[in-house]
Symmetry: C2
Subunit: 525 residues, 2 copies
């Protein structure tokens, strides 16, 4: 019977989301940032103009374009311009070193690097490491010249050779890749997670069904847009046709003032941001609250401290915990607003498009039994860019093994115990011990290196390192830390480094990171 | 690159919607009907019990099960029980004659016929016409014995031979067929429209994105559930996790009282229903209004009379016009609530998953130029059951030609001029002239027959017939009407029949139905 049906194309085609929102709600606010307010019509116009410039520069379908900008309108217009060309966005993490970034640029085979003015120096530095990489500059529009085309006229770039001018596309194929976003994963080797349009779509829909969808929703984005948590807000904006207020930096006082002034309905935060917001709120009025318009404080980025949740509950701040990762295009499991108090501490239940399973040694775990959190569904990544082995290892029979540890209670609510067994989450940033260990092991004096997290009141966790030196080595902790500072982003550099004897390992020689802390000299604990 | 990805299955699998809602909101009201209130947990339990009974009776994947019931809990439980078995629902229109229904049962090759008590006699009558068709009876639960299993213990049925007991399924493949629903289309020959799970999913999501989605939404269903407008409400309920109040019959006073008492937020109606509701409301208080909780009166089923829209606007009743058809699983184009007054009379803009095009002679029409409404997207049917030619004729390159006439204004808002050129819409029911003409032409005295619609203040339109008799025939209009009454559902029987001379035809002999009215004797106009 199926053969007689109209099935010219098995993949799902939708109208371009931004273009559709611009048709449906042309005068509705799409994005406000730094004093500028763009309607959907204006954002659409800016994205189209930029896409036309990109096309003239040789960018087209499948072009991999790395973007090194702050959270501003240039980035937003760029995201949509690349979508219109079916080009692939590669957002770069501004906290990484030139060495880390150049590795990603090579690995993803980017054909151009775009930056904004604030990151032009770093872009030039990267271009020295990758001499064939064309650079492009995206101007920040100022309030006075908000309609200036975003690509610098004085610094034209082109992707050589310009073979042909690509057409603009007005549809979206959900199976296509929208972005490649790097994450280190359990192995410590960065991998490019493929983010498809479908993942964004299913995530936006799942989120709207769970949190509700109001036509006058305003989502405050104050997280980096190079992470999936930020990028997914831009996608929800055009899919759901709702407004975003974008803040270039996280400043608790500015965020609080915006929440009070602007009828914001939803904000995405990680625990440390929320803590700082509440502290700032207390300086205005102890135990202060937010306006009732704020219907959802979406709290992600790792297990939340219970005192924080209780503080929010006492202030009637509608915190909704969520669990997600790059591989699930942000939210995969989110508490329903109605369960926020009853299930304090839980990340909730899987969004409708997501299937969730806790597995222990491959078996489905019983209620309350911890195991590895596994996810399946159309919102989960198809895999890692050009890494079939890593993909096959992470995704079996459609089930993504996240490596994170959690359990389901009797009602099927997820409690996350640990983000990946060894993952360190510091101020919302993921730090993979294996990556720091690899940097230390590159030093000739280091025989063994082990890194683990240490609780920290401000950052949640900070990384600390344990090193077993080669025989006869006289290297000092200070020397080794200085060595890592040249190789790692600042937030990854261990806050302490202990020179110790042989590291704890299991029978098969695997490093037991959880036992590292026992090696600390008594005076330091 | 795609090959390296995890693509074990190209189709999209979701958790069973009802089961998921029962997990997410077990104690939330799923459906209230006739004094009974079932939570999602209870509806899930009833559907599971019924599915287990169905499985024992031999129903399984792909089983085509015709259902002849009123709008009640037995039907609702049955819909979900069949989904759990991946069986295919064939809802029967209660307004059709036994002859019409038996034709459909044969055409769809139903393997069982289920009815409720109220329609048991008609079911038995059909079983006489189709002696091999097993019958099953679905009990209405009474408030006292609400948990009684719905399948009669005293009248067991089985689909012979019972090969094996099918397992219950807890996932949904969006590509699978959920139902086959008969519609006559332009040709007048009924065809089974394939309704996939994906169509319902995309429709529910598109509707939620356009109308907004509140976690406490309550949708009042007072339209027949054997039409797609009613069935789609049941689907939205379990996809979105919202409550439905189901009324077995449309009674304006009951509907109005429910709107006033029950915090209903959305109601689906056709124009004649809304007119009668307003008339009843006026008997309570002239110019009366509804509570503010009612945020959307979704008005479908054909072009709406402008005075009705203006009356609603003056009462601040939030009417939102919609255009849809069985082939689009109900809503395809819907006005956004914010545009309701600015675009009075428009059906709005296509839902996000829908692409819309107006075509004239195959070319895309200019703004304000009428043409055939064509639809494309994942919410549109893959085709007609076992009718590849009809499918290929209706759907070209993914575009469904609806046959309905409309135009888009400069802003892309749809105005529907005519439901299919010849379609008569009477009280929300589609009447296809060709079908009535075929019944008349079966009479030996009839040489030509033509049917068209006549405006009617109560029903919107009513069918009237023109007959050119064979030479020497002395048949009377009364005799011919009596003849059609035996063959056609009551609402299809012409309200007037005129014996006239040769009917107007174009050069190629095609009947010009629009000119039939000129043949009416002067005294009758």
């Amino acid at each position: 019977m199926r053969d007689a049906m109209n099935t010219t194309d098995s993949s799902t085609i939708l109208s371009n989301w931004l273009a559709r929102s611009a048709e449906n709600r042309p005068q509705h606010l799409a994005i406000a940032c730094n004093g500028l307010r763009w309607t959907f019509s204006e954002l659409d116009r800016q994205a189209t103009l930029l896409a036309e410039k990109f096309a003239l520069a040789g960018i087209g379908a499948q072009s991999r374009i790395a973007v090194l900008t702050g959270s501003g309108l240039p980035y937003v217009a760029c995201v949509h311009a690349l979508m219109r060309l079916k080009a692939i966005l590669v957002p770069l993490n501004l906290r990484l070193t030139a060495q880390e970034l150049s590795w990603q640029l090579r690995d993803v085979q980017a054909i151009a690097l775009l930056s904004d003015l604030a990151h032009q120096d770093l872009a030039r530095q990267l271009a020295q490491l990758l001499p064939d990489l064309p650079l492009g500059l995206l101007h920040h529009p100022s309030p006075e010249v908000g309609l200036t085309p975003l690509v610098d006229q004085q610094l034209p770039f082109s992707v050589r050779p310009v073979q042909s001018v690509a057409p603009l596309n007005w549809t979206i194929n959900l199976a296509d890749t929208q972005a490649i976003m790097y994450t280190s994963g359990t192995t410590g080797t960065p991998k490019g997670v493929v983010l498809t349009y479908g993942m964004h779509w299913w995530n936006a829909v799942g989120s709207a069904l769970n949190l509700g969808h109001q036509l006058d929703d305003i989502w405050l984005a104050c997280m980096p847009l190079f992470h999936v948590g930020g990028l997914s807000i831009l996608m929800r904006s055009v899919i759901n046709g709702i407004s975003v207020i974008l803040q270039e930096k996280f400043e608790p006082a500015v965020v609080n003032q915006t929440l009070i002034d602007e009828k914001v309905t939803i904000i995405s935060v990680v625990a440390i941001m929320l803590q700082r917001m509440l502290a700032e709120l207390d300086t205005r009025e102890p135990g202060g609250r937010y306006p009732e318009a704020l219907r959802c404080v979406l709290l992600g980025g790792g297990p939340a401290p219970r005192p924080l949740l209780e503080d929010c509950a006492s202030r009637k701040i509608p915190v909704v915990q969520t669990y997600g990762l790059t591989e699930s295009a942000s939210q995969a499991v989110t508490l329903a607003p109605g369960d926020a108090l009853r299930k304090l501490g839980s990340a909730g239940r899987p969004l409708l498009p997501v299937q969730l399973s806790i597995r222990n040694e491959g078996q489905v775990a019983a209620p309350n039994e911890p195991g590895i959190i596994c996810l399946k569904g159309p919102g989960i990544t198809p895999g890692y860019d050009h890494r079939p082995e890593a993909t096959a290892q992470a995704i079996v029979d459609g089930w993504l093994s996240t490596g994170d540890i959690g359990y389901l209670d009797e009602e099927g609510y997820l409690y996350v115990l640990d983000r990946r067994s060894d993952l360190i989450i510091s101020g919302g940033e993921n730090i993979y011990p294996a990556e720091i260990e690899a940097a230390l092991l590159a030093h000739p004096d280091v025989q063994e290196a082990g890194v683990c997290g240490q609780a920290d009141t401000r950052w949640g966790q900070i990384p600390i390192a344990f090193v077993h030196l080669q025989a006869q080595s006289v290297a000092t902790a200070e020397q080794l830390l200085a060595y890592t500072e040249q190789r790692l982003a600042r937030y990854k550099v261990p806050r302490a480094l202990y020179i110790v004897g042989p590291l704890p390992r299991n029978a098969s020689g695997k490093l037991l990171r959880r036992e590292l802390n026992k090696l600390r000299p008594p005076s330091s604990s």
